[in-house]
């Protein structure tokens, strides 16, 4: 047969048929996972039904075993970016045990929750400026281990600024435990109860700064039932997940600051964020080791609404939110950083620079930051 550059439509059809059959054989399980992780909706339910039926039909052929073995092999090489999988692979290789169906569960210790399973009624509103008392000073010569935890609300902007501003402080050791596109609503997509212990590894944080919840304004399936966002059943489950997660963070006596979601640009999304904040505040305010902290006075407008630009008293204007109207820009994150670093109560710097305390008004903090950041430019 002579090879040519061009093919006919019938050949294209045959190529696509070959592709479809092979990809279904190799990836039917992955397709089911994909459908399962879609945002809860009738379309998602339909996709789950179709892919589940395909998977059930094709699974007995055993082709998908190739996928599992390939993934296990890659995990052993340290290729995976999933901390829980990597930890499980290391554990397996250390113990020399044969493969388990649930490597994450095999490797990660998840503590029992300390708080009773009863859930408190969700508050109607959150306080505007709750106090953020500095932690007691660390013992002489002792390094304070701080975990930065959360979804993209931590990963974009806030973690960068906190890492930069604490980089030279020998008394603080930062542990990065954040992952964009995650949350507490969908443990089927990313299970923080499994991943957090794997992310921090052998570290035992004394302090945790967590910013999470931006992806949680969605329904989910619990015990086979679809729970719509904001329904009583949804709130109850979500509140319990938040409680469990907070207990995990504060295990070993770690102090936690839970950074609330800032005002969002899109109105409907902002309403959802407010609901998430009310639930988080309700949970956090019951834990003596944790403080819920409202970023709104620092980066919102006078009415508590969304604000994109910040004009300092000296007239300098900077963009404090990312172009998506959700995340913080570096300049926005820098408005929050002094209070959070003040809470960590690191050793005072050699030069007598006043630490920002939580009692200070946001405008004062903002102005201090801006003086330090003159000449910066913002990028969406």
């Amino acid at each position: 047969m002579r090879a040519t550059k061009y093919n006919s439509l019938s050949q294209l059809t045959a190529v696509m048929a070959g592709f479809a059959v092979t990809i279904l054989l190799l990836e039917s399980g992955a397709l089911l996972t994909w459908a399962d992780r879609l945002e809860v909706s009738p379309a998602r339910n339909g996709a789950v039904r179709v892919t589940a039926a395909l998977h059930k039909t094709l699974q007995p052929l055993g082709v998908e075993q190739v996928r599992k073995e390939s993934l296990d092999g890659l995990d052993r090489l340290g290729w995976s970016d999933d901390p829980a999988r990597l930890l499980a692979a290391r554990e397996k290789s250390r113990l020399g045990v044969a493969g388990s169906n649930s490597p994450c569960m095999a490797a990660v210790h998840v503590p029992n929750t300390a708080v009773p399973k009863t859930v408190a009624p969700v508050v109607a509103g959150v306080p505007r400026l709750p106090p953020l008392k500095p932690l007691p000073p660390a013992a002489q010569g002792q390094t304070r281990v701080v975990a930065l935890v959360g979804d993209s609300m931590m990963a974009v902007g806030l973690s960068d600024v906190l890492l930069r501003q604490t980089a030279t402080d020998q008394n603080l050791r930062i542990v990065k435990a954040f992952r964009s596109g995650t949350g507490l609503a969908r443990p089927d997509v990313f299970d923080w109860m499994q991943e957090y212990p794997a992310m921090i590894g052998d570290e035992k944080p004394d302090a945790v700064i967590v910013a999470i919840g931006a992806n949680d304004g969605q329904g989910f399936v619990e015990d086979g039932k679809t729970l719509a966002f904001g329904s009583d059943a949804w709130v109850k489950v979500y509140q319990q997940r938040t409680t469990d997660f907070l207990n995990l963070l504060s295990e070993n006596g770690a102090h936690v600051v839970w950074v609330g979601l800032p005002p969002m640009k899109a109105g409907a999304y902002n309403d959802r964020a407010a609901e998430i904040n009310r639930i988080a505040y309700t949970v956090v305010s019951q834990n003596p080791l944790a403080t819920w902290w409202n970023p709104q006075p620092y980066i919102g407008d006078e009415t508590g609404g969304f604000r994109e630009l910040e004009t300092s008293p000296d007239g300098k204007t900077t963009r404090i939110r990312a172009a998506d109207g959700i995340h913080l820009s570096d300049e926005g994150a820098a408005l929050l950083a002094p209070a959070l670093i003040g809470w960590l109560n690191p050793a005072p710097p050699p030069v007598t620079t006043a630490q920002v305390t939580p009692q200070e008004m946001p405008a004062v903090q903002a102005s201090r930051h801006r003086r330090g950041a003159r000449g910066r430019t913002a990028r969406p």
């Binding site: 047969m1 090879a3 040519t4 550059k5 061009y6 093919n7 006919s8 439509l9 050949q11 294209l12 045959a14 190529v15 696509m16 048929a17 070959g18 592709f19 479809a20 059959v21 092979t22 990809i23 190799l26 990836e27 397709l31 994909w34 996928r67 993934l71 890659l74 090489l77 340290g78 290729w79 970016d81 999933d82 973690s159 960068d160 890492l163 930069r164 980089a167 030279t168 964009s180 596109g181 640009k265 994109e308 630009l309 004009t311 000296d314 007239g315 300098k316 204007t317 963009r319 172009a323 109207g325 820009s329 570096d330 950041a373 000449g375 910066r376 430019t377 913002a378 990028r379 969406p380």
Partner: protein
């Protein structure tokens, strides 16, 4: 809808099926592709579909008016009107806040600036690309490059055609509109080339680019103060590989998808890091943008027709605006200025006609030295391009002087770095040989091999799909 997702795969397979089943009826075929393109765009945000439609409509109508006008004056007026509308739209969405904050900040140096409400619209996805398409349509009509009368339906599809809608390549109306005139030929589909392009594009984006981003580049650029020379240098080279694989991967997929639908898109990248001069680099990097800037900006400014000084000014203006096109921030302007500077220096250097130097410039040793020099100069530009602020850019550069251990080098990172950079030196004949070899396989086997490649890419790629870097432009 991102290319490396199941959603896009299902969408594209459905479009492929319906589009080819309508190929005998060209109008219905094009109408369907137009509807599919709006669905593709609406998947991100439906409220911006009217903007896309409006820009396409204006450019199509203006192109028609230009073609219908006999004398130069009304043609020029129509063109000016169309270009002003397009650039005002781009300016409003992309540059208003940047421009006003810059003015206010300059004002603040001399007096207290007035309080004003600055409009903060959400940046429409791919606005820079579809506005440039619209301008290309009107300019080509003005320059008489369109042999036939522009049909409105074709103009709409040209601007909104989904494979190139979000991040290019930037098509020329004079190349693409003739393709819309005739029905697609069902016996001339370049399937093998398309499959290779899509698989290569996915590998570059999902495996190399994402891996380098998550395990190397993001960590260093987030807090450069915490890393020393080795890691910082790795991250800078890593970003050079990441942005190439990200963007060229995207355009490979776009070109491959269009090819399966029977359309030809221009090549957008040609091993740019093998270039030995800045001029050569811009003939190989984002070719559709650099040729757009050359034809619609540099040449109208006078190009190299005037004095040497005037040519240098034209080069600098073109590159500064090219930098600003990438984003409304001064870091992008500096990136553009650096490239303008490189082009000017190269122009001066090339103009030296001292015989020993001319001979030396023709040697292999110099070619490799020039490649190395240029690559590092390009990487210096990438530092500003990647950094969210000058503070970070200079922190990155300062850390190059700080010795210390390399902590971020792992087997996956090393492999991705080598594949992303050294991969550009692979001979072109390898790809052609592979395409030829695939042509000998039965069609079903080719499909199966493509599926196996996708499977491998899915396994090797990090979890989650990071957006393409060029989406935000």
């Amino acid at each position: 809808m991102l290319f490396p997702t199941v959603e896009y795969a299902l969408f594209f397979l459905a479009v492929l099926l319906v589009a080819w089943s309508l190929h005998r009826w060209n109008s219905a075929h094009k109408l369907f592709l137009l509807a599919a393109s709006y669905v593709f765009y609406g998947f991100w945000n439906w409220s911006y579909v009217p903007l896309l439609f409006g820009i396409s409509l204006v450019s199509g109508l203006v192109a028609q008016r230009i073609q219908a006008s006999g004398s130069p004056r009304p043609r020029k007026l129509w063109l000016a009107l169309g270009v002003v509308i397009c650039l005002s739209t781009l300016g409003y969405y992309k540059y208003t806040a940047f421009f006003l904050t810059t003015v206010l900040n300059l004002w603040a140096h001399v007096a207290r600036p007035p309080k004003m409400r600055i409009p903060e619209p959400l940046l429409p996805l791919g606005v820079s690309f579809f506005v440039f398409h619209a301008i290309s349509l009107m300019m080509d009509a003005y320059r008489g490059k369109l042999k036939q009368r522009v049909r409105l339906s074709d103009a709409l599809l040209y601007v909104a055609f989904f494979p190139q809608l979000i991040a290019g390549p930037i098509l020329r109306a004079s190349n693409f509109l003739p393709q819309l005139r005739a029905s697609r030929n069902p016996n001339a589909i370049r399937v093998n080339r398309a499959l290779l392009l899509i698989a290569a594009g996915l590998f570059k984006k999902v495996v190399i680019s994402n891996l380098l981003a998550t395990r190397l580049v993001e960590q260093v650029f987030a807090a450069p103060q915490t890393f020393s020379r080795g890691d910082v240098l790795l991250a800078i080279y890593g970003y050079a590989a990441q942005i190439y694989c990200d963007f060229s991967g995207y355009t490979d997929i776009a070109i491959g998808c269009a090819m399966l639908l029977g359309y030809r898109f221009p090549r957008n990248f040609n091993a740019p890091y093998t270039a030995a001069s800045p001029q050569d680099f811009w003939r190989r990097w984002h070719i559709s943008l650099s040729s757009w800037l050359r034809d619609y900006l540099y040449i109208p400014l006078g190009g190299s027709r005037g004095s040497a000084a005037r040519t240098c000014v034209n080069l600098m203006i073109t590159m500064l605006l090219g930098g600003l096109w990438h984003g409304a921030a001064w870091t992008f302007v500096i990136w553009g200025a650096l490239h303008g500077f490189y082009l000017i220096v190269h122009r001066v250097w090339s103009g030296i006609s001292w015989t020993p130097l001319v001979r030396f410039r023709q040697t292999t040793v110099w070619r490799w030295m020039a490649r190395l020099l240029l690559f590092n100069a390009v990487c210096l530009g990438w530092v500003f391009f990647r950094s969210p602020s000058f503070e970070i850019a200079f922190a990155v550069l300062r850390r190059l002087a700080v010795p210390g251990a390399i902590t971020l080098l792992s087997v996956p990172v090393a492999m991705a770095l080598i594949a992303g950079l050294a991969g550009q030196f692979q001979p072109l004949r390898w790809r052609k040989a592979l395409e030829f070899e695939l042509g000998n396989w039965p069609a079903m086997a080719r499909g199966a091999a493509f599926a196996a490649a996708i499977f491998g890419i899915e396994l090797l790629g990090p979890s989650g799909v990071a957006p393409f870097i060029y989406f935000r432009f």
